[in-house]
């Protein structure tokens, strides 16, 4: 099993954190993982993205060129990366922010109004977790079972009080359809 995941959106949407949670999820399940963020001034208000690979084989390049899974949270990133998604791959798009109709044979596109759902939950910053939850719904159930542990490892101590609400958002995404 190898999932090559690209998460992309604006800086401030929790792109890197979402990736980190996925990386720890891999580790918790004794898989090989790599996590490679974009970095630097593009994080000042610009776009941000992050590459995560989870695999049961040693990982070569940490760069995700053709993602099996694209989690995408703004229009420019969607336009940029949609064409790269591997055959049979998934796109998890925040449809509150990306109102483009698009489909391609062999690619599953999931439209989730994540930002709107998150706002309704009281914190628009949870959109990333909602999308992540949806992605978990396409994976082996062991991942959903261990996501709490992964989150505990990825949330910094000072923000641990947000663990529950994050889990709730994941569940909301997991159950959305």
């Amino acid at each position: 099993m190898t999932r090559e995941i690209l998460i992309a959106g604006f800086g401030g949407q929790g792109i890197l954190f979402g990736g980190k949670a996925l990386a720890y999820l891999g580790m918790v399940n004794n898989l090989e993982v790599s996590w490679l963020p974009s970095y630097g001034p593009e994080m000042r208000g610009g776009t941000a993205n992050c590459h995560v690979i989870i695999s049961d084989k040693p990982i070569g390049s940490p760069i995700v060129v053709s993602p099996t899974d694209l989690i995408v949270m703004n229009l420019p990133s969607f336009e940029k990366f949609k064409k790269n998604v591997a055959k049979g791959g998934n796109i998890f798009a925040d449809s509150s922010l990306i109102d483009k109709v698009w489909s391609r044979k062999g690619i599953n596109k999931y439209d989730i109004p994540a930002t709107q759902m998150a706002s309704e939950m009281g914190n628009s910053k949870l959109a990333n977790m909602i999308l992540l939850g949806k992605m978990l719904s396409t994976m082996d159930s062991v991942f959903m079972e261990t996501i709490k542990k992964a989150l505990e490892m990825s949330i910094p101590p000072s923000k641990m009080h947000l663990l529950d609400i994050n889990l709730k958002a994941i569940e909301a995404g997991f159950n959305y359809n």
Binding site: L36, P41, I63
Partner: protein, 343 residues
Amino acid sequence: MKGNEAIAEAAIRANCKHFFGYPITPQTEISAYMAKRMPRIGGVFLQAESEVAAINMVYGAAGAGVRVMTSSSSPGISLKAEGISYIAGADLPCVIVNIVRGGPGLGGIQPAQSDYFQAVKGAGHGDYKMIVLAPSSVQEVVDCTFDAFDLADKYRVPVMILGDGMLGQMMEPVVFPEKSPKCEQKDWATCGTKNKRKPNIINSLYIEPQDLERLIIARQQRYNAIAEKEVRFEKENIEDADIVLVAYGTTARIVKAAYEKARKNGIKAGIIRPITLWPFPEKIIAETAQRAKAIVCVEMSMGQMVEDVRLATGGACPVGFYGRAGGMVPEPEAIYDVIRRYV
């Protein structure tokens, strides 16, 4: 753990209790980590006012006999050039990390390997060398960091760990070896005579050319010993290979994908991955050049290591090159295409 953090943690475990740095992307995590940990273990983390100051603090601390490290990225390393030359000239051990970004100038902040020449041929003035280690995974970052401190102390030379933005930012699981670091007795260090011995002097000035030459020749002999004993590389399937790929650092990981594809398609490919860039693994390359149809060097630069590859082959086989620049990362497909050109 992130590559940058892994360097920091490994250094601390290798008994490096002194770190002097100056912030620069993409290696700020090293400083951030040191800033958190050092005060907890009675070590010193100091953010210098500049890279120039940082490398000179390293000089002072190394001269005072402690294990010491600094880290930076390309423009910052250029600023350290004089200091590095001084450290080499005064025969001091230290570890310098360069998490390379695109250049020249301010360039970009994406990963690159365009500081190979600077690291290997000598950014600074004068006849000197640094040992240069180029890990290609976060685990190897850890191993190289331990190695770096031991080599530095053993040969009294500066050792550079050459990574790139990708390696520094990347997170992979790591295991820290249970090693107790070798700590050499440093009789030559300046830490006060305690009125018990003659003063020690840390110095690189020799006004009499005879004296300076004698010293340089003695140092060269040490370099020769290093070149003989400390070459590190990894090879894969080169014994029967027609096309041997040479790449270091994260580029080697990408090359591997191309190599696998080639093997899958029946092309006899192999890989040599230099881990020490100086001393360069020239012997294995020279031998390979006798057997192989071609050697293809892949770099994130316009072609720097390829010169050392060519030197090593001595014309025995054609040497191809594929490079990307400015923060662009080679893609396995493109490398594969180059391989096919040489079959």
